[in-house]
């Protein structure tokens, strides 16, 4: 009995260990690249079929092989787009989100092969090529997403210097409060510079500013440039404005990394939905004008 109990607990321990181990394995390496291999085999079979099967009168989406590739591709695209649904369903079951994500990445990449072979290399200004190009854009943004998810988070924490985002904003608020009181003795012109710097939205600059890290209309930088006078009060305000600028630089560094991390989703998701619409138009139009 005791043996049995220890046996079960041993198994349980092993299971838990395995789960704990797997918790720290990247979705790319999930199960020793299982989905990478599946995707490679799928692509290999597709290419071999394309080369070996005699497609009359010429290879394109209208041969039986073309229809087969198209059906596989359509099924894959629909399934891949369901990742957004899957990740919102947190419930038990034999469907690991990591496995699903791993399959999403690798099967998504195999779509480059399947989709391209389905076109038969016939490209034009039409709804069919629109669907193909949208698919390629979605895949390209996905590749970008995988790369930035693997590389950028390290620089994100390096930029933080042990500060949370809330602390960064608090620090700015603290500097602002000091600026406000330090600026009391200033003249009209200099006070206006300070007001402009204080009034500007912390997140000013828009998406382009975030992505490039360039803020040509930054009021703090302008105030630093514009401040004239050499009294002690002005010196103190300039010192505080410099602190403010440094704090803004840190916040903007975080914004830039965050933007680079997130921008692909703003293309990936809407283009996926656009792709599904274009695929609908593609499939219906092909059979409408059969």
């Amino acid at each position: 009995m005791a043996t049995k109990v220890s046996g079960t607990s041993n198994t349980r321990f092993k299971q838990d260990e395995r789960r704990r181990d797997s918790d720290h394995v990247s979705f790319l390496k999930h199960r020793r690249f299982r989905w990478l291999w599946i995707a490679l085999v799928l692509s290999g079979i597709s290419i071999a079929g394309f080369v070996l099967i005699d497609q009359e009168p010429r290879p394109n989406g209208g041969t039986w092989y073309g229809y087969t590739l198209g059906t596989i591709g359509l099924g894959l695209i629909i399934w891949l787009s369901l990742l957004g649904v899957r990740k919102r369903r947190i419930n038990p079951g034999a469907w690991s989100l990591k496995a699903w994500t791993s399959a999403h990445v690798y099967l998504g990449l195999s779509l480059i092969v399947i989709g391209t072979l389905h076109t038969g290399f016939q490209i034009g200004w039409n709804v069919h090529t629109l669907a193909y190009v949208l698919m390629l854009l979605v895949i390209a943004t996905g590749i970008y997403g995988v790369i930035v998810y693997a590389t950028l988070p390290a620089s994100l924490s390096a930029n933080r210097k042990e500060m949370t985002r809330a602390q960064m904003l608090d620090a700015l608020t603290a500097i602002d409060r000091q600026l406000e009181s330090a600026a009391q003795p200033l003249g009209r012109a200099d006070a206006d510079w300070v007001i402009a710097a204080l009034e500007q939205d912390t997140f000013h600059g828009g998406a382009l500013g975030r992505l490039t890290g360039r803020y040509p209309r930054c009021a703090t930088a302008r105030a630093l440039k514009g401040m004239a006078g050499s009294s002690g009060a002005v010196d103190r305000v300039i010192a505080l404005l410099e602190k403010r600028r440094d704090q803004l630089t840190q916040i903007r560094g975080a914004l830039r990394i965050r933007a680079l991390l997130e921008i692909w989703l703003f293309i990936h998701i809407p283009l996926t939905i656009a792709l599904i619409a274009a695929l609908t138009a593609h499939v219906i139009s092909v059979f409408y004008y059969w």
Partner: protein
């Protein structure tokens, strides 16, 4: 060396109360305990939380006295330095202590209570890129909606609501369906280019494949390669993938592998229709006899390797209405109704050559082109006419006209001949009386002399001309028609090879006698059409290696699918095929169909 401690509070009415006190020390303690220099009644603050020390260099060292840190310029630390010149802010619980130099030697510490920051979560949201871009959901709806509307709903709606127009190849009308150009998988072939904006001319009904009936509505009278049942029977079996596709396709209304569009696939770019490949033909014609066991056609799959012997069409009996076909191997005998030994005429040292040399129109021995000239299509030869080709030597001169020129017997119709002979050979008119003649111009040979004699000798002359040994029988075969002497009608087909296409233009560098054994032919009964072997000297199948002599030749070089005797041509005007005249067009055969030798 003093600290100015300034506390700012608010009354219930919101009025500010400012209390200043000066502490003459070099260090301060801050905490909840009453004995601290700055007492903060806030549970979030330790009893003795922070100590501020003035350093010799004028800066302030701030240090947590317990394990709990404090906020310094927004950052949580356990110790830090404040330069009083720029100042700093210490956060302890809800209190904010602004530290700054005031005057020369005084450090002002301004204590202010701040309200709990409720909007902090919202502020943090600003870090997400979503705060600077339109929402993904909105973009998705806009993109998907625009695509579905412009590329699906608009074309479908305008197709369903259009007013169908009957196709007419003479007038090209623009299509009524809007935005369906976006559905086109590629440009149409050059011949269909004008239909580029009129998709519905071919795609007539929704979800219905292009029907043969629609193609035929313009391409009227296009020949069938064979009867559909024979075509279906002769087809090589489909691959399982193709068979499945056709089964599904036919179940959904496609017209099967024998429909127009299964071979004539469109939207392949602005090109001309390509000739059928050798494989396209040999798919069926290789081992055709195993599928169509009763077929009269021999198998063919490669001109150099397997192709049946030619079977030229010719008239095997005199005046036959229909030509027959036979292989050159069987030494066929042609009954054209003519006598014509080619060898005599072509012998450079023979009598014909000598005659030609003496005539200014020739000046040299006879050549093929002296009699045979190509038709405009460069495939066949024009009919040889007696007047142009033979009469130079085989003269029909019958006398002199009054003006002194030669008069000829007319050629071509026995009736004309009889008239002409009657004119030259009237029976002499009996004399008025012995020893007497008519006077002057009325005398025999005078301008007004008239011969009213019976035309007896004319008939004898005609009979002589048409009988063996007569002038006509130099070239023609004598016969009788309704009891009267006549000639066998000349009966030659316009085209000998009727199921294929041969252009003499492409072979003009060859000598005629390289292929046609005319120089050794002793009689007009020889059929001088070359055999398969002589073509294979140069022409081998499509897979043959091209050399200076060998021309790889696919089926389409000589055969066409819809018009067997036409040839697919990559250039020029429509149609792609030059249709040959039907073999039974020869009118002479029909006119003299019943003549017998």
């Amino acid at each position: 060396m003093a600290f100015l401690i300034r506390t700012i509070d608010f009354t219930a009415a919101g009025r500010e109360i400012i209390r200043d006190r000066v502490v003459e020390q070099t260090a301060l303690t801050i905490g909840r305990a009453a004995e601290c220099d700055i007492h903060l009644p806030d549970l979030a603050v330790e009893q003795r939380h922070v100590r501020i020390d003035r350093q010799p260099d004028g800066t302030l060292a701030v240090e947590a006295l317990g394990t709990l840190g404090f906020g310094l310029d927004g950052r949580v630390v356990t110790q830090g330095i404040i330069d009083p010149h720029t100042g700093g802010e210490i956060a302890l619980g809800a209190a904010r202590l602004a530290v700054a130099r005031e005057g020369d030697d005084t450090i002002a510490i301004t204590i202010r209570q701040i309200a709990a920051d409720e909007g902090k979560g919202d502020a943090l949201r600003g870090f997400a890129l979503a705060s600077a871009l339109p929402s993904k959901r909105a973009m998705s709806w806009i993109f998907a909606g625009a695509i579905l509307l412009a590329l699906l709903m608009v074309p479908v709606a305008s197709h369903l609501l259009r007013d169908p127009v009957k196709n007419d190849p003479e007038t090209i009308v623009p299509g009524q369906v809007v935005m369906d150009a976006a559905w086109s998988a590629g440009a149409l072939s050059l011949k269909h280019h004008e239909l580029e904006d009129n998709c519905e001319s071919c795609h007539v009904a929704a979800f219905e494949s292009v029907q043969d009936e629609t193609c035929i509505s313009c391409h009227e009278g296009l020949g069938d390669h064979a009867k559909p049942t024979r075509l279906a029977g002769g087809m090589a079996p489909l691959s399982s993938g193709d068979a499945l596709q056709w089964r599904i396709g036919e179940a959904l209304g496609k017209e099967g592998p024998l429909g127009c569009v299964s071979c004539h696939s469109e939207h392949e770019g602005p090109v001309r229709q390509k000739p059928a490949s050798e494989a396209f033909c040999s798919d069926c014609h290789d081992a055709l006899d195993t599928r169509l066991t009763d077929t009269a056609l021999a198998n063919a799959h490669d001109f150099g390797k397997e192709h049946p012997q030619f079977r030229p069409a010719f008239y095997a009996s005199f005046g036959a209405a229909k030509p027959v076909r036979a292989s050159p191997d069987t030494k066929p005998i042609e009954r054209s109704g003519l006598k014509f030994p080619h060898d005599v005429h072509m012998d450079a040292r023979g009598g014909a050559a000598r005659m030609a040399l003496s005539l200014p129109d020739y000046g040299q021995p006879l050549e093929c082109k002296d009699c045979h000239s190509l038709t405009a299509d460069k495939i066949s030869f024009k009919e040889v006419t007696m007047e142009d080709s033979c009469e130079g030597c085989h003269s029909l001169v019958s006398g002199r006209t009054a003006s002194g020129a030669f008069s000829n017997l007319r050629h071509g119709d026995v009736k004309d001949l009889a008239e002409d002979l009657a004119r030259i050979n009237p029976a002499p008119r009996p004399a008025l009386a012995s020893g007497r003649t008519r006077p002057g111009q009325f005398a025999r040979g005078g301008a007004y002399a008239a011969n009213f004699g019976r035309p007896m000798r004319a008939y004898i002359g005609l009979s002589n001309a048409l009988s063996p040994g007569g002038i006509c029988t130099e070239c023609h075969l004598p016969t009788t028609k309704q009891g009267r002497p006549d000639l066998m009608p000349v009966n030659l087909p316009d085209r000998f090879l009727t199921s294929g296409f041969f252009t003499h233009e492409a072979h003009r560098k060859e000598e005629c006698t390289d292929c046609h054994a005319a120089d050794t032919s002793k009689a007009a009964t020889d059929l001088l059409i070359p055999d398969l072997k002589s073509c294979r000297d140069c022409h081998l199948g499509a897979t043959a290696v091209k050399t200076k002599k060998i021309v790889p030749s696919d089926c389409a070089m000589c055969h066409a699918y819809h018009v067997p005797s036409g040839q697919w041509s990559p250039k020029g005007k429509a149609p792609h095929y030059s249709p040959a005249p039907a073999p039974d067009k020869t009118t002479i055969a029909a006119l003299f169909g019943q003549a017998k030798p």
